[in-house]
Amino acid sequence: MTLWFLRGLRRGVVTTHYPHRPESSAVLLPTPPSFRADALTPELADLLCWVCPSHALRRDGDAILFDVGACTACGRCQEVAPGAVRASGEFELAATNRAALIKRIPLLGGDS
């Protein structure tokens, strides 16, 4: 208590900005997946869309539409395809535009 009081007196401020420093506990957070496009075959894409419990993944021709807003970071896609999907580590995902949360993941050999 005294230490904090003295520190506050010395620095003049007792509060910090956000983010003050990289959050060390952030590695423990479940985060939405990121996909390795060169490992996504159409069959694997169908499987990923099928295992997703929150309809965050949808097939759209030669791509997957990934709705980050609908993703609950449950990790089922990572369990199904550990070589093609991993946690992105991104958790500061607030958006002022809903459409910005919908990402297009091209499949193997596809472009866009």
Partner: protein, 201 residues
């Protein structure tokens, strides 16, 4: 009588396209001005009213943690208020059950303007409950949402970031993310933690 089609801008021609672009630029300018004004008014003091529209209460647990010493949102000028009449920002969680229609509208209308609505969690964004006879599925069906915070539940850090985005003190980052992993990085842990470049003022 409604005005005839004569008053509508010409379709398809280059003139029409240009005017549409000009209109869009004008709208963007107005939106930017409004955003700046809101940031000026809310930047240092913002009162938050939470609205549970049928969530499982995990979002509420994370919101409650914002006031804990580790996150301490009061240092940033955010405060919780129990009354919508004192609130500047409505933090809505849950998939908006239909039984909440009137209550949600009343809470929104009771707030003094300018006001912000933040949809919090995957339910509120339409990820968990499809629309059916009991729920609307998304908060934006009933309320005009300004900021969307994904997550199931969003961590207190994500909520802090979302609130700072709502008042214009931090830039949103998700638009630049592709969620496509580089092949070489697959085996390594990703770089984690909020970046320190964007300091909130």
């Amino acid at each position: 009588m409604t005005p005839g089609p004569v008053l509508l801008p010409p379709l398809g021609g280059p003139g029409g396209a240009r005017s549409a672009k000009e209109e869009q630029a004008e709208e963007e300018q107005v939106a930017r001005k409004l955003r700046d004004q809101i940031a000026r008014q809310f930047g240092r003091s913002l009162h938050i009213r939470t609205l549970d529209t049928g969530s499982c209460a995990v979002c509420e647990q994370e919101i409650r943690l914002l006031a804990a010493p580790h996150y301490d949102l009061h240092r940033l000028g955010f405060f919780f208020t129990p009354a919508p009449r004192h609130a500047d920002l409505l933090l809505a969680t849950g998939p908006m059950i239909r039984a909440m229609d009137v209550a949600a509208r009343k809470a929104y209308e009771a707030m003094p303007g300018p006001k912000l609505v933040v949809a919090t969690g995957a339910c509120a964004l339409g990820g968990v409950q499809p629309a059916d006879a009991f729920v609307h599925g998304t908060v934006s069906e009933i309320l005009p949402v300004d900021v969307w915070i994904p997550g199931c539940p969003p961590s207190p850090l994500a909520l802090l970031h979302g609130l700072l985005v709502a008042v214009g003190r931090l830039a949103e980052k998700v638009g630049a993310l592709s969620f496509i992993a580089e092949p070489g990085l697959m085996e390594e842990p990703s770089s984690l933690g909020p970046s320190t470049e964007e300091g909130a003022g």
